[in-house]
């Protein structure tokens, strides 16, 4: 989650939060504007559906607004907001009857976001293989256990360390690391027979 236009030390966020607490609506609008891409991305990578991700991102911001009183302005805003986004996605997935199943179109929806799989010079066969690998990985990613998926999404796609992920998921950092490693092992297993 890389917010636009905010200071590295978080002082700008702290000022915006303080203004929100005084009832300044526009200050909260500024926070939403700057964090909406990151919040949406975390949720979308976890639920694999654009429509649901959009609604859940709204829910995450409403939760954040309601919880602003508990936010410690001495700490960075980004992990706090990511925690809310991840929890909203996890709650949603847990409410589903089969949280590890995803709609087929969601799988290809996610696959459509990736960059060109291989440089042109590698030839069509390499490109086809790379695309097949990517499709298998995306499909399996969305079928992983929710906690494993959360760990790998937050680590590999959001660049968080395991301590931060552990804080978000309410487990020690080492547990988050184990979950991410199990997720990667599972993704590797899905590639047996492909490469």
């Amino acid at each position: 989650m890389t917010p636009r236009g905010l200071s590295r030390d978080g002082s700008e966020e702290a000022r915006l939060v303080a203004r929100c607490r005084q009832g300044d609506v526009e200050a909260f609008a500024a926070l939403v504007e700057r964090y909406q891409d990151g919040v949406y991305r975390v949720i979308y990578r976890m639920v694999g559906d654009r429509e649901e991700a959009r609604d859940l991102a709204q829910e995450a911001f409403i939760r954040a607004f309601e919880g602003l009183g508990t936010f410690n302005v001495k700490k960075p805003f980004r992990p706090w907001m990511s925690r809310i986004a991840a929890n909203v996605a996890i709650d949603y997935l847990r409410r589903q009857d089969h949280p590890n199943d995803v709609q087929l179109e969601a799988v290809f929806d996610v696959g459509a976001d990736r960059e060109s799989p291989m440089p042109e010079s590698d030839g069509p066969e390499s490109a086809a293989l790379s695309r097949e690998v990517s499709d298998v990985v995306w499909r399996e990613l969305l079928r992983l256990q929710v906690k494993w998926r959360a760990a790998i999404v937050l680590h590999h796609m959001e660049g968080m360390n395991y301590k931060e992920i552990g804080d978000i998921l309410g487990v020690p950092g080492n547990t988050a690391k184990t979950w991410a490693h199990r997720a990667k092992r599972e993704l590797c297993r899905s590639l047996e027979g492909v490469i």
């Binding site: 607490r21 005084q22 009832g23 609506v25 909260f28 609008a29 939403v32 504007e33 909406q36 891409d37 919040v39 949406y40 991305r41 979308y44 990578r45 654009r50 959009r54 991102a57 709204q58 911001f61 409403i62 607004f65 976001d113 990736r114 960059e115 799989p117 690998v133 990517s134 990985v137 995306w138 990613l141 790998i152 680590h155 590999h156 796609m157 395991y162 690391k177 991410a180 490693h181 990667k184 092992r185 993704l187 590797c188 590639l191 047996e192 490469i195």
Partner: protein, 132 residues
């Protein structure tokens, strides 16, 4: 012995993408996969998985999120209780209003009393003129 080194290699392979590998760990892994085809295949698959995860492009939020969130929050903010500062301003206003009302009532009572007194005096004067 092979199994032990394979376990170490698998652990190293699963740590790919976590942090920078230590040089000695990386050298061990390279040497190991040269003579262990299973671990070599595992390393190849893991590299493909990490590459596939890294290939994701950033996703942008739909434009309507900001509007939708603020659309849900603005009505609440308009009708919800005001902030502490606003509340203290409100209390001050009420006190001023109550004070003004008190002064008004006081003035009205004073006027009524004075009219009553003046009226009594007038009646007495009229009576004394009549008697005279």
């Amino acid at each position: 012995m092979k199994e032990e080194s394979c376990n170490m290699a698998m652990e190293a392979i699963e740590s790919l993408g976590d942090t920078r590998h230590r040089r000695d760990g990386w050298l061990f892994l390279r040497r190991h996969v040269r003579r262990c085809s299973d671990c070599c295949a595992y390393l190849t698959r893991m590299e493909s998985v990490i590459e596939a995860l890294d290939e994701l492009q950033p996703v942008s939020a739909p434009d309507e999120i900001l509007e939708a969130v603020m659309g849900r929050l603005r009505p609440r903010l308009l009708y919800e209780s005001p902030t502490v500062e606003e509340r203290s301003h409100g209390h001050r206003g009420l006190l001023v209003l109550a004070g003004a009302a008190g002064v008004g009532v006081g003035v009205a009572i004073a006027l009524a009393v004075s009219r009553h007194t003046v009226g009594q005096q007038g009646d007495e004067e009229l009576a004394s003129i009549g008697t005279a």
